[in-house]
Symmetry: C2
Subunit: 206 residues, 2 copies
């Protein structure tokens, strides 16, 4: 691409440095901002710049937060006996979107992956163990909501082993064929495992 303006080129480079945005899209975004009033660009860059300057990690659960303690941890109405352990803030948002869970979270910030040099000490596992071990801890159950990949399984195994002997119960979210999913379209592993891990059928009025 041949830019008549250095400023445009730098703006295109900036947008194109983001994941999933190519130079053609970056140019489109740049020209979009040029076509609007300067205030629009100012609001845009200020929102992002302010976010990055002020965002912090909750000192309890490591979720992204505006304050040292996040909304969820600060909310007195949440069930403090449950801690749902997830890989990233995206998972917290996905679970919050279901409105089915009223406990607390713990964001690991990744999964154990020796090939990429990510060991337990790179994650927030120690902070989780400490959180459960302190004398005023109200935690009764740790729910592992982690993907069953090699890294996920390793991480779940490690956490479970570390929690052995502790009074908290360790559980994992249910896995199986999705609700509304057609059996013939379910992948083999999911279908196979959901037969092995079958549960007693209950009538809804029982």
């Amino acid at each position: 691409m041949n830019f008549s303006s250095k400023l445009i080129e730098q703006s295109v480079e900036a947008f194109a440095s983001l994941p999933g945005i190519g130079r053609k899209t970056a140019l489109r975004l740049t020209l979009h901002l040029v076509g609007k009033s300067p205030e629009v660009t100012e609001q845009f860059t200020e929102a992002i710049s302010k976010m990055r300057r002020s965002i912090q990690h909750c000192t309890i659960c490591h979720n992204l937060s505006d304050e040292p303690i996040c909304n969820v941890c600060a909310d007195k109405r949440r069930d403090r006996s449950l801690i749902c352990v997830v890989e990233s803030i995206r998972d917290v948002m996905a679970i919050e979107d279901t409105s089915q869970y009223r406990g607390l979270y713990h964001v690991l910030g990744g999964l154990i992956n020796p090939l990429e040099g990510i060991g337990p000490s790179e994650l927030t596992i120690d902070s989780l163990l400490h959180r459960i071990a302190v004398s005023d801890s109200e935690a009764k159950e740790v729910i592992l909501a982690i993907s069953p990949t090699i890294e996920g399984d390793t991480t779940m195994f490690y956490i479970t082993k570390k929690l052995k002997g502790s009074p908290v119960k360790v559980s994992s979210i249910a896995r199986g064929v999705s609700f509304g999913g057609e059996l013939e379209y379910a992948d083999e592993v999911t279908l196979g495992r959901s037969i092995v891990a079958r549960v007693p059928y209950k009538l809804s009025n029982e």
Copy 2:
């Protein structure tokens, strides 16, 4: 989407206000910036913010430019007898990328579109006529490089009519089946018109 952080939400809204970026992508971009050092975000927002603050339109050809007169208009080596009239800065970039044109440009900033209330006075047509009419004008030919849509045809018709009686020649870029294009895949209008507008065949060594 359920945000635990107002700052994240505002950043997502900012990204999602751009064309073609949905809220899921906006969240991905936001979390990408959170995962990098604060300097990365600062460089990103500063490049865009600086671009919007300082960008101007060339006072001669209305192309986007860092200075009051753009690179192309300021370049003494360019052929000042040719003015290529285009709709937008994107077209300038596309033509510059071909390296086949060494004349000047004139960016209209749109096309005549009465349905959307865009008349000749909303475009830079008067500026083009003035540019050609001034006593020290070197312009000998105006090349219309405008899409043959209803709006494009109207705009070309209007400019041509306005230039009647002026000593400059008016031409339009060649249209036909693209080089390397298979005839069977060319659209009917292009193929039909390229037969009607056939040109004498020349051997390359003639």
